[in-house]
Amino acid sequence: MSNIVHDTLPCGIEYGVMHLPGRHIVSFQIRMLSGVCLEPDDKLGLARLLSHTIDMGTEAHTGREIADAFDAIGASHGGGTGRETTTFSCTTLPDHFERSLELHAEFLRTPTFPTDVVDVHIDLQKQELVALEDDASSLADKLMGEKAYGSVLGRHALGNEASLAQITRTDIHDHWKSNFCAGRMLVTVAGPIEPKRVADLLQQSFEGFGSQERSGREPFKGDFAPGMYHQDKDLEQEQIGICWPGVDATHEAFATQQILLGVLSGGMSGRLFTEVREKQGLVYWVSAWQETPRNTGMLFMGASTMPDRCDQTYRTLLREVERIAEDLEQDELDRAVTGLAAHLDTRGDSTRARCGELANDIFFFGRPISHEEKIGKLEAVTIDSIRTYLNDYPRDRLCVVTLGPRALADEAVRTRRMD
């Protein structure tokens, strides 16, 4: 950990630098702690519009000039809108790090949001909403998110047609003015760059950028809605999603939850792949995963299958989770630990992955965390701790979403009490 510096600058930016001498690229990530959760209720879709238009014109340059300036140094950059953050990522050759950061500072600090550009992007976002209807798995994710997290944390970044119709250029500008500032910035950098140089550049580039007061760290409350939900859609397959509350990333049982998911879906020897696909041939795709907004943890299982097999698939998914408490074996647990540890090791060769990992550590835990500490927690998980976890966090309140030609049969649903 001696190669990592984590601190807060006078301008308000919290930053982390992983010094990796010998690497040939630099990656950095700017997380503005402002995502869809901060949108006004009647302006859903605003955060994504902001992230898509912020680099489309500044006080000094047009959007095209900004794009050309990035290309002039060959920097690969992009942005994304999440529930709690808006992220700008960049990978560049070390010689161009300073210029890349300068360009980010320019569009983050002095965007002009040209009206004609904003109008086009509102229309494009409406078209993306229509396109979403043609993407079965993404549509199922959207439906699932709404039920899993409720009306704030469960918002979809695209918003909806009615809310997009309400949004103006002024809304985007005002939202930027209110929520984009140095005090909400978390910046991580990985590569052959001296931490002192990064600190100096950040301070110089963002001094005076809005409020320097540390903010945006408060978690948003989820509103889990257990129940059975079905949306009819003319599809070849039925999309099945199941979720239930777990623990957040900082909880002491989080490592146990990670291992549980590894046992379920960590590789092809995981229980879901083995039982649902390999033994019964019910699906091509099946998976289990978790999402951890701050202070919230949610576990998911998903599969897609032909409609006449969805009841059996659903029952098998649920049975496999429950069966873990009964017959988990040490070898399964060991494989799950090895899978997660090896993932950390192999991705460690990627500068971009190291940068993202550092950003996650600081975002969730407020500090960098060594691989040794992470792996130590995973290795401390036992069969008993998994049984305790399954007992402490029962699957007695499930949210089940199906999308496709038919709802689950009553008989399948009765296998579980839903709420």
Partner: protein, 424 residues
């Protein structure tokens, strides 16, 4: 600079290609089998992909369960995929596990194709085909291939057809496997912080006893069709259009030029981006070169709601005409080159990404290419070479138009060049 590559061919014809990466902690290995959808007959469409699934199903030494457990005991990031040209199996592990990883992959390459697993896997593949039918992009791509290369094996979908998969016998699969999965039709590729001599010893020990088959691909380049084909699919909301034009093969000296031209036209910060997306005509539009060893296609594509398609079509045509007639500017070429340089530096970091690129190099060029070689190819692209490319392969005349979605646009009934309307 010393080459980072070591190449060796075992007496049975198996090529071994190793890239030594002294600064990394992980390693990746994979077998590239030179067989894919274009080696199939129509009645066995999907056999390469079916075989890819069955290779995980058991060997004389391991059951399917043993195979998955052994992968996961290493914490490997592993998978397989089938393309038109090849089938690939790979794993990415910690450096200390690379020998075990190679051993497992090598064992899989001698599969027993167990009869008892065959029926179950058929159901899984039929689910995969059903999943693909819920994707407009997937349906559109298969339709384009079907029409562009009608009558040629490249027209078959990689997954196969429902009827060919449903009717496929284990014996047919076994025969195909025996012919195609011979060492003289395969390449073992390894990248990472490894000792190349040791890897060659390992390969010899594991694979040296495999019998060569003398198999050879009887591949012929297709004749690309022209005209217009429409596929109406009422259950989707968006329409996809694609204009396809003949292009160069991956082994042509203008291949890199074609790639740069496609980026200028349809990549990030491209002509399509500023003149189509940012004009609000369509949210998704791009240009892409499909390179094969013996021919190539440049595809210009986009999607939007059906009512916007005529405007999207006109806009794509306008840009295609402009770049063919007027060429490109030096700064446009330079921008793409700069991005490629950064991309190459990113790719050089991890054994997994190097393995992926080496697979591509071996399939397309028959040799690994160093970063310096690839940079030199990028640097050789100029305004003039792009002009030469478009002179030889214009994208403002001829070509093929495919339209897929709820609209029957364009209505080609009775018009010359209108090949027909398909429905689903």
């Amino acid at each position: 600079m010393n080459s980072p590559y070591t190449q060796h061919t075992l007496p049975n014809g198996l090529r071994v290609v190793i890239e030594t990466m002294p600064d990394v902690r992980s390693a990746a290995a994979g077998f590239l089998v030179r067989t894919g959808a274009r080696d199939e007959t129509r009645d066995l469409a999907g056999v390469s992909h079916f075989l890819e699934h069955m290779m995980f199903k058991g060997t004389p030494n391991r059951t399917w369960r043993d195979i998955t457990i052994d992968f996961d005991r290493m914490g490997s990031t592993y998978n397989a995929f089938t393309s038109e040209d090849c089938t690939v199996y790979y794993g990415w592990v910690r450096q200390s596990d690379i020998e075990k990883q190679i051993a497992l992959l090598a064992d899989m390459m001698r599969s027993e194709i167990p009869e008892e697993e065959f029926g179950k896997e058929r159901k899984v593949i039929l689910e995969e085909i059903a999943m693909a039918k819920d994707s407009l992009e997937h349906l559109a791509f298969d339709f384009i291939q079907d029409k562009l290369f009608a009558g040629h094996p490249l027209a078959w979908p990689i997954l196969g057809y429902e009827d060919t998969v449903a009717d496929m016998s284990r014996d047919a699969l076994w025969q195909y496997f025996q012919r195609r999965y011979a060492p003289d039709n395969m390449i073992l590729i390894v990248a990472g912080n490894v000792d190349p001599n040791h890897i060659i010893d390992v390969a010899d020990k594991l694979c040296g006893g495999w019998a060569a088959s003398g198999t050879d691909s009887q591949r012929q380049p297709p004749t690309m069709k022209t005209g217009t084909d429409v596929f109406t699919l009422d259950r989707f909301n968006q329409q996809i259009i694609a204009l396809s034009f003949p292009s160069v093969s991956s082994r042509d000296e203008l291949c890199e030029t074609a790639g740069v031209a496609a980026s200028i036209l349809g990549g990030d910060n491209s002509r399509f981006f500023w003149n189509i997306v940012q004009e609000g005509i369509a949210p998704r539009v791009g240009a892409h070169c499909m390179d094969y060893t013996d021919f190539g296609v440049m595809i210009l594509y986009g999607s939007c709601q059906p009512e916007g398609i005529p405007a999207l079509y006109d806009a794509i045509k306008e840009q295609a005409d402009k770049i063919t007639r007027d060429g490109v500017k030096p700064e446009e070429v330079e921008r793409v080159k700069n991005k490629r340089r950064t991309g190459l530096a990113v790719e050089a970091e991890t054994p997994y990404h190097r393995l992926t690129q080496l697979m591509d190099d071996m399939e397309q060029y028959g040799e690994p290419r160093t970063v310096d070689q690839r940079l030199a190819e990028v640097d050789a692209v100029t305004v003039d070479s792009i002009a030469n490319y478009f002179e030889a392969y214009p994208i403002n005349i001829g070509g093929h138009l495919a339209s897929v979605g709820p609209s029957q646009w364009p209505n080609t009934e009775g018009e010359p060049g209108g090949n027909g309307v398909s429905t689903a």
